[in-house]
Symmetry: D2
Amino acid sequence: MIRVAVVGAAGFIGGELLRLLVGHPEVEVTAAVSSRFAGKRVDGVHPNLRSATDLTFCPADDVDEYDTVFLATPHGAAMAQIERWTGHSKQVIDLTGDFRLEDTEVFQRYYRSSHVAPHLLGEFVPGIPELHRERLRGADLVSVPGCMAVAGTLSLHPIRDLIGPEAHLDARTGSSGSGATAGEDNLHAFRSGAMRVFAPTGHRHEAEIARHVGVRVTMTATGVEAVRGVQTVCHVTPKPGVDEKAVRRAFRERYRDEPFVRLVAQHRGRYRYPEPKILSGSNFCDVGFAFDEDTGRLTTIAALDNLMKGGAGNAVQCLNIRMGWPENLGLSFPGLHPV
Amino acid sequence: MIRVAVVGAAGFIGGELLRLLVGHPEVEVTAAVSSRFAGKRVDGVHPNLRSATDLTFCPADDVDEYDTVFLATPHGAAMAQIERWTGHSKQVIDLTGDFRLEDTEVFQRYYRSSHVAPHLLGEFVPGIPELHRERLRGADLVSVPGCMAVAGTLSLHPIRDLIGPEAHLDARTGSSGSGATAGEDNLHAFRSGAMRVFAPTGHRHEAEIARHVGVRVTMTATGVEAVRGVQTVCHVTPKPGVDEKAVRRAFRERYRDEPFVRLVAQHRGRYRYPEPKILSGSNFCDVGFAFDEDTGRLTTIAALDNLMKGGAGNAVQCLNIRMGWPENLGLSFPGLHPV
Amino acid sequence: MIRVAVVGAAGFIGGELLRLLVGHPEVEVTAAVSSRFAGKRVDGVHPNLRSATDLTFCPADDVDEYDTVFLATPHGAAMAQIERWTGHSKQVIDLTGDFRLEDTEVFQRYYRSSHVAPHLLGEFVPGIPELHRERLRGADLVSVPGCMAVAGTLSLHPIRDLIGPEAHLDARTGSSGSGATAGEDNLHAFRSGAMRVFAPTGHRHEAEIARHVGVRVTMTATGVEAVRGVQTVCHVTPKPGVDEKAVRRAFRERYRDEPFVRLVAQHRGRYRYPEPKILSGSNFCDVGFAFDEDTGRLTTIAALDNLMKGGAGNAVQCLNIRMGWPENLGLSFPGLHPV
Amino acid sequence: MIRVAVVGAAGFIGGELLRLLVGHPEVEVTAAVSSRFAGKRVDGVHPNLRSATDLTFCPADDVDEYDTVFLATPHGAAMAQIERWTGHSKQVIDLTGDFRLEDTEVFQRYYRSSHVAPHLLGEFVPGIPELHRERLRGADLVSVPGCMAVAGTLSLHPIRDLIGPEAHLDARTGSSGSGATAGEDNLHAFRSGAMRVFAPTGHRHEAEIARHVGVRVTMTATGVEAVRGVQTVCHVTPKPGVDEKAVRRAFRERYRDEPFVRLVAQHRGRYRYPEPKILSGSNFCDVGFAFDEDTGRLTTIAALDNLMKGGAGNAVQCLNIRMGWPENLGLSFPGLHPV
């Protein structure tokens, strides 16, 4: 049993980490850190953990020694506190945006603030097992990517040599992406049934996809009716001579042995392309594509649960990799249907 | 054209009043009062009024003379300000809870505070055209009932002589009933898809139904997935000898000439009983019932849009009655289907 | 009062036509044609019309003489019956896909069938008041465009000289677009909360947008959680020298006097860009855009109610134009908020 | 490893059984029986099982020998085929309504048909571990109760000696209760956002609650917006002298050691009473109550996932009991939050 701490444990990502880690056979959750709820029971904030844990939240200054610390704080807080947590644990897995970009200028442009620990930017291994599994085996610092960045990256990386240099990406997301302290705009009466274009341009996750895939990315992000779930649709131009078979082969070969990526691209059926709702609670990222031979147009589609493969689940997968455990330990829930 | 003011114009009921009054052929909205948004455009808060009005909100102390003032403030504010508004207008139509109960003790029990204008409690005519049309023709003070109280009352009043002295009432409501400033509990991620029993006992509206119908009422209120919409289901015991025909006749006769109450009680079809969703934006209260001759059990069902017949629409109907206009003036929208 | 018939009156578009025409001050609905429901009451199928009409459906062969016939049948039936309806009315307004494309080859490609009345293709005036108002004044044959085609066209046409020759379009739609006889795939348990990419490429409406705007269009269509509502997001490349001001000016000037198109493109606020949910039941098409000066990227956004401006409302607007009535006659409902 | 068959494997309950049994460490799914889909892949119908199983459906006449057969067929089919399945397996767990009532007259009244295997009615042990655990250890025939019956029963049974002889029950349910072959009434456009009173009186599950609890039960069932989830609210009258403490004690003592029943009755917090949405995919039935000392009124509330504790999960719990395995084997998923 290793000892882990979750910092920012009262948030949505924090709660999902607790669900996974409390149920993980090799992990003991030693600390659920939350300033706001210190002293309160964890299941008062995360009611799905009733009867699963008797933990209470502890304040941030009540630091012990841990094997792994998960940072699920607001953006900005992770880089401000990073030295403290690296000093008390063997591994830090950061789920904020603070260490997702390598380039301080790009960071400045997308986050509208300076980075306070730029010397560490290069030290963090991106928490994308499908791209960096080997590096993750020894990684003491891991930066888990943004939810839409995971989806976009996994739907483009295998075919990056088959497409032109530009990708238009349309991302849809549920409301949990805004976090547990989202303001009045996320009141049910406003957000329910919405198709809210909240980032027509300039969303932070587009910079991550560009970094990982090596193409120029423009992205539009829209909030649609869902609590969990992200879907990305990418419009790209295949290079001359590339056909459907080549694309299918590229995806197949790349993801054949991946435990959490499935190719979903069927010509018939009710769930032909990746659909987020059947992935709620699971760690899958489903990836699909449609190739229009007439127009030479290629569309790739990805879906995941933003709190799982787009956050907490991905982080636990990274932990499993580093510890040499089966990658799906504690991550075996397959998702529900109908739902 | 009469001159009206809406106080609390930035709230949900306030916004619905503005929608109706801006579109009303005999009304000029002279003031949309909101302290919080004073100086801001009305359509910045109520985006459905884009291109319908150029009004801006004005502060509460910027008082003029009006024909009718609608009070859509938080509970408590209406009774505190009532003298001021009666001093500046011929008629006040209050949509808060402040003047809905006659008895100060009952008020104290349900609102957990003392009434500050108890001498006026008896002056307000209940804004229920179906019960008090004649008194409303001359009413200078009108108190529009709570949304669930309207539904419950209209589904019981016609049969009050046919049933025993007790009614169990189960009410379901959308999230707009909690208002535009509902707190964190009403975040979309928490409230979406919920079946939230928020008042298993003691909801304020049960006291109103008891007052209007003259039976003992116990009520449970549950928030379900909807923004607009209230549905009540009442369980009552018919008196000996009462059968389905008698119940149907009582409802039919009572509501035959009512412009906004429809009897919906069919043995087949997709919308056999009152369904709130097809009433969104309309001023209808649909009323139905099911009589189980085997068990001698009677269930009555009602549905309405809480912001319309359960609030703003009912208030405008009261205004139309007092002014001698057609009752459905400005209230002719029939609702949508499918929706 | 003119005499109108609605053919396919039991469908969703048919029902919406009935709602609008029953409430229209200059129209008498003479026939609500439905083979399947002939003899049944209209409000049994369209429960929002209870108390609004006593009409019953009539069979298709029970033909009279009309001023205007609206065709809201399944695709294919309109072109098969067109001679019959033109023989019995002064004007036919077709809401199916049958006469939306001029080119029989394009029709064949997108509809996978031959056109049976190709000689009439050029006779139909596209039912887009914003592009063809003058021609519509005298039009005996009108073809109302597809819901997503209206949104896409109105968000691109004013700037067609300011952009490159290609548009990528991402369309989201509610479930009512599939019609009242949609099959098992549209069961609530499957369709609820879905993000269903049902047409990654090749959707019929893309051919209409290409026709009306004069650019190459590739479109992806996704069903999201909503009953009514369409939103389109277009990614285009502005020509050199084009900036935000030029784009804003082009939209402003073009739509300044349009009764049903509003420019919604704000830098702050809760409803910054076009949002379908607040348009339910209204005839508005809201159009907006975001210009990213850094990347030289332009995104345009449009929203409408697919049964209204994307169907029945647009058809009634065309009727109003031809009859010389105010364009918003019978179309004044502004939409609800919150909803 | 025991060998099990699921009959009716393409339905919603069948699919949930497959999800649980495929993931169960002691079970091998030998047959997934479906006439309609025989020969097709299981994950084509249940897409959440992609990568979890390569099973294909088999026809009903392709019978082998099994340790346990689960019957998830339409009502009526189980009693017609029961001899066949008992002939080929050691245990039959029936999830239909066929063997839920002991009394053939009551059966006739609620199911409107005669029972074709009345001699077996008394042989089936009700699949309610909380009431019949000991009998279930040796049960070869188990009848899993209806979803609303489980909720109602568990929220009344512990206090049956503390209350009067009548219970009014209000039940709300998601759309999955209608099954995968629900007709046009369950189209998304009709069912979405509905509050559909589909059984104001006479729902079959009320007879089961009456049987298990020993009180007269009247029940109203309403479909609300959800795919999964059932909530019951019971109105009962406590006997003289019974207070809140007595009720709380009765629930506490009864459910203290139950692995899947939790008492949820808090005076504050966001999830004070049982809420179905956080139970999706879990096997919990949360039970709560509110006691109004003023009026002497008692309300009990229960929530569960109709496909889990209200169906497949309960069935697997019964299997675990009979086999002497830990009761939560294969049933450890705690539910999600937010969701």
